[in-house]
Subunit: 305 residues, 2 copies
């Protein structure tokens, strides 16, 4: 079912290349153009036959497309917007897949032509891997995609973009950019920051050699290295572009951590137990909601034992 | 190959029941006795045929055994030691699987008879699940087991316990209890504390509903809930029994986090990128060391897509 006759994806990383695969598989469009400024990504995309046309010039890539999707780090949106906005087809939608939304609106809104529609988006899905090879069509299945349309966005356009994500298997939710940025600060940005930080702290230890950190990583550290292996450019841009919400969540996290530290120092076992018991339950709710599988993880999977 | 003619395991949680399965499969002993004060665990162990004999009285359970393994939360060791030490067979080894080692030596050493041998141990393996059903023999395969024998432990006894763990598929390393506690504070205890804390912080938020935290957990939060679903009693005891090392690592973590917070506040993108880029590499080393598989995790596995 064609939803957008022609689509352009700019950026062939994990998300861009997963989108390309999903669009080709589901026949959402008749023609798919992808664009990347990295020659290796372009060549890989050609080898993997991820699009009808593969270009390195975004101005050319967006021409005639009904939907243009930015799938590059948020820090590139300003320059890209200046290049592509004048070239976009009249009536086309410009969307994105960035992990922050308030900044995206601030950056792109002033560059938009009146006859085009900005509807920012964020598929809450991913793995720790990057590049055109890492993508796969099923990445979005059963995951939520958040859209943050401006108040003046035509309802028909928003609905068309909703259908696009639903065709890829996603569930769609609409919210304001500010609410998105606060929700994601706690469910995604802070977890990444904490993971990057603990891996960094481990690297600094002189008393514990690096080989010991690696050998005994099965005790829990291992799980944090997965998140801390995510794309550094993307994450730098996330933190620089969602500063207020991240700093706010970080302040709450640090307060709570100080309370926990105090409970350990003064042997307050009951306080520790109470927290550890409460947090256990939330896991079950995430599994029940289909956002995680209930398979014990021990660094490999049981069926491989 | 019989290594210990008779073995007793006290505590049939994840680790105890995994040990029972591994011992039965590998025929390390001729007779396996297990003991648990939880009637449900005893019944489950009977139903699952996890031992030759299943008792609820530790004094009786240790009689005649050549190896006694404590697999209960560390907070129970004092009481258990007083009950079992007088009943142990002369020449037997008392070991454990606790996640802390300094406290274990302090708690159990004064209770030991001169004709028995205390050799504390810690298999660095696990999942977030608990109880007799959660165990499986392959849990220890390819993982490290750390032994912290006292200086006066007979070499032949230490070597026999090493062979026991090797027969279960583990690699064995010897170190002092203090070094163990510091290494595990960073590779296991601090990661768990941070995970419990962030899940707790998320629960407190009024602006973000609980359903939103669950829906959008695929952004990273999900991974923390796995660790924060670990057994609360076990972890309370870990923190109370490795206070110094945990508080020390926590102080370093907090210093580093403050620096990161400052980098975000003052838009120091280069500092963020530099850290995020460095932490990425340690992941590869963990995979190369066989402590994690190189399969992208997105809440389910690719072969299930």
């Amino acid at each position: 079912m064609t939803i957008f006759p022609q689509i352009t994806i700019i950026g062939m990383g994990l998300i861009g290349s997963s989108l390309a695969r999903g669009i080709l598989e589901s026949k959402i469009s008749n023609r798919l153009i992808v664009c990347d400024n990295n020659a290796e990504h372009c060549q890989l995309s050609r080898d993997l036959k991820l699009a009808d046309d593969i270009l390195d010039d975004p101005a050319k890539a967006v021409k005639g497309s009904d939907l243009v999707i930015l799938a590059t780090p948020v820090g590139t949106y300003g320059d890209l917007g200046q290049i592509i906005c004048p070239e976009m087809k009249s009536g086309a939608i410009l969307t994105d897949v960035g992990s922050v939304k308030g900044s995206v609106v601030k950056i792109l809104s002033p560059l938009m032509r009146k006859d085009c529609h900005l509807i920012p988006g964020h598929p809450v899905a991913g793995t720790e891997q990057s590049g055109p090879r890492a993508g796969f069509a099923a990445l979005f299945e059963g995951r939520w995609c958040i859209l943050t349309p401006p108040l003046n966005a035509p309802a028909a356009m928003v609905s068309r973009l909703e259908k696009f994500w639903q065709a890829l298997g996603s569930k769609v939710e609409l919210m304001t950019p500010d609410h998105h940025d606060m929700v994601l600060a706690i469910t995604s940005h802070l977890p990444h920051l904490i993971a990057y930080n603990i891996v960094g702290t481990a690297r600094h230890l002189e008393e514990v050699t690096k080989s010991e950190v690696i050998k005994y990583s099965a005790g829990g550290f291992r799980d944090f290295t997965r998140i801390a292996a995510s794309d550094p450019t993307m994450w730098r841009d996330v933190f620089l572009n969602n500063k207020d919400a991240v700093l706010e969540m970080l302040a709450r996290f640090s307060e709570d951590l100080t309370a926990l530290q105090r409970a350990i120092r003064y042997d307050e076992g009951d306080k520790l137990f109470e927290l550890f018991d409460r947090t256990r339950r939330i896991r079950k709710e995430i599994i029940d909601a289909g956002q995680e599988e209930d398979i014990a993880d021990f660094g490999r999977h049981k069926d491989e034992k």
